[in-house]
Symmetry: C2
Subunit: 361 residues, 2 copies
């Protein structure tokens, strides 16, 4: 087991990473003010892992007052589902010291985290992410939210967990495609600020995708450490956190342009990072060989390195708001000066962006 | 104008108290990260004061994107009303820097404050309380919430405003009965921890109730200062904040026993404080003369010093959970060792409580 402490003063908390953690109830129990909790999971993950987690907690003296199984999917991350969670917490007579434990992917963590942040003005929260994406992304940063029909993550709060358990065993049942999509975000951390980590991933991508516990633990640990450093730095430098969006402007265009149906978020981020690299190369910032290393790693990991063939370049620019540049806010891009060296700029000629997208279709 | 700073490190904020504040837009404008806001008020207060506030803000360069008028009353402090506020914020295209300004009593402040705490994970919040109760209570402490059908204030957050404007002019249209009810909470601060303030109130009660701006400002200032000190102390001593509930255990019994219809909260608190004083006197803690001073001040202020005639003593004990004492948690009382000296204890014989309630019916 590896442990990383996210340093936030009084709200600091540990992230434990490795196999066999779900059943080690004491890792959670030791962080709680009272030995009672409510488990929030979904209909996919619950049947697979809730029992193990519950047994471990009970062995450590924690009573589960209720187990709430949400419907699976982003379309259920709504105020209506949140209401159901509040109802169940009240019916279970959960008090201010009763912990909410989220077991599942990003949707479960976001929604249960927001419930924990707001039930009786805040109760203890524990994250047990079961997807690679949630383990490397949601575990750090304290973002919780639900969607509103007029926008994603519009209702939310910053709220830190008491502890995060990233059990690599729970990735055993994750579909290959979702594992790869999570891996795109892992690669992102190397690209933004950690060239040594990028080199590690070039060497160990196949072991990670084969779910080797050692390689997975290392990848999750280094991803979380990088994100924790960015988030901590952000309290001083407002632009640092924006670097976490490398590839995301293009990815957003792909997701919106395809109606959020065919592409997983991580897949769109992979293609988006290639586009950002392509813009950087054409702007004379990134070398030919670095650009190739990026494309090669993503491709070897089974991730897309081109956008959808039927999404026109003009549509990208429209969604990205490039057409609105004249009327106020310039589009800001996250570009690369090298592997591990991302920065933000608004100084990119539209023609370069257009050529880069054209080249990645 | 008097100004009190609530000291909370990075989240410190000023409370401005006095006449003519609503129209002084710069007091708000200077605290905002961007010159735009949405006003949340209710159908009673909006028509009286929204225009003044809006004009003052506009003169200070702040654009109001929308003005939301909620239905008046505690029964509307619900998740459904909250949804309406979110909808309007989104329709107005309020962004992360757009402030939410609450103009009204406790219900508006609680609900708008929770909306501000959770819209896009938190936007700037400004309180403009227009009842005496809200000016001396809600202005300090950062509590925001909505009710759930299974319990009051069950969904909420701690969230601090950027600035509070307690305009004594806005009390000009407050019904006498509500002014008196707010005054009960003012008296409470003196009773808990500030004997000099209690003496000031004995001398100036009539001026305050006649809405003399100078006397009102002083009463509001000293109330807020006392609450701010208690709340700050609470970060170290967990029991300090509980003292703010002097009289509230009995008041809760009156409110519940009468179905929350006939008694205003402050009225129930007045009778409840007399009961707490009566218990203290019978337990040999509070002198006869101090007990009389308390009753005399409340009575002279037109507040009830007895509970409803038709509410049986047994019903009080039942609601207060005294009957459940044997099965676990003992009831804890806030009692007085003197005027300005409240403390908490669980060591009160049931017979004494029973006699005190009997004497106050």
């Amino acid at each position: 087991m590896k442990t990383l402490t996210v340093a936030l003063g009084e709200r600091s908390y540990p992230i434990h990473i490795g196999p066999d953690l779900l059943k080690t109830g004491s890792l959670v129990a030791d962080t709680l003010p009272a030995p009672r909790a409510v488990l929030v999971t979904n209909e996919t993950v619950g049947p697979l892992y809730a029992r193990q987690l519950a047994d471990g907690l009970e062995a450590a003296g924690v009573t589960l007052l209720d187990r709430i199984e949400l419907a699976d999917g982003e379309q259920h991350k709504t105020p209506a589902t949140l209401e159901q969670v509040y109802d169940r917490l009240l019916e279970a007579r959960a008090d201010r010291k009763t912990a909410v434990i989220a077991l599942g992917g990003g949707v479960v963590g976001d929604l249960a985290g927001f419930a924990a942040a707001t039930y009786q003005r805040g109760v203890p929260f524990v994250q047990v992410p079961t997807t690679l994406l949630a383990q490397v992304d949601a575990a750090v940063g304290g973002k919780t939210a639900v969607n509103h029909r007029l926008g994603k993550n519009m209702i939310g709060a910053f709220y830190q967990p008491r502890v995060v358990l990233a059990d690599t065993d729970s990735l055993g049942t994750l579909p290959d495609r979702e594992l790869r999509a999570g891996f795109a975000e892992v690669v992102k951390y190397g690209l933004i600020r950690d060239p040594a980590f990028f080199a590690y991933l070039e060497e160990h991508a196949q072991a990670i995708l084969a779910r080797d516990p050692e390689a997975l633990s290392e990848a999750i640990y280094r991803s979380c450490r990088n994100k924790a450093e960015v988030v901590a730095a952000d309290e001083r430098e407002a632009d640092q956190r924006a670097l976490l969006n490398l590839g995301h402007t293009f990815a957003h265009a792909i997701e919106t342009g395809t109606g959020y149906t065919d592409w997983l978020h991580g897949e769109a981020v992979a293609a988006g990072m290639v586009m950002a690299a392509e813009v950087s190369r054409r702007a004379g910032l990134l070398s030919e060989s670095d650009t190739q290393r990026i494309t090669a790693l993503l491709k070897a990991s089974g991730l897309p390195v081109k956008g959808p063939a039927d999404l026109a370049t003009d549509r990208y620019l429209e969604i990205m708001g490039v057409d609105k540049k004249a009327s106020g806010g310039a589009v800001r891009y996250i570009l690369l000066e090298g592997i591990g060296r991302a920065f933000m700029t608004a100084e990119v000629p539209e023609a370069v962006v257009r050529e880069a997208i054209d080249a990645c279709r």
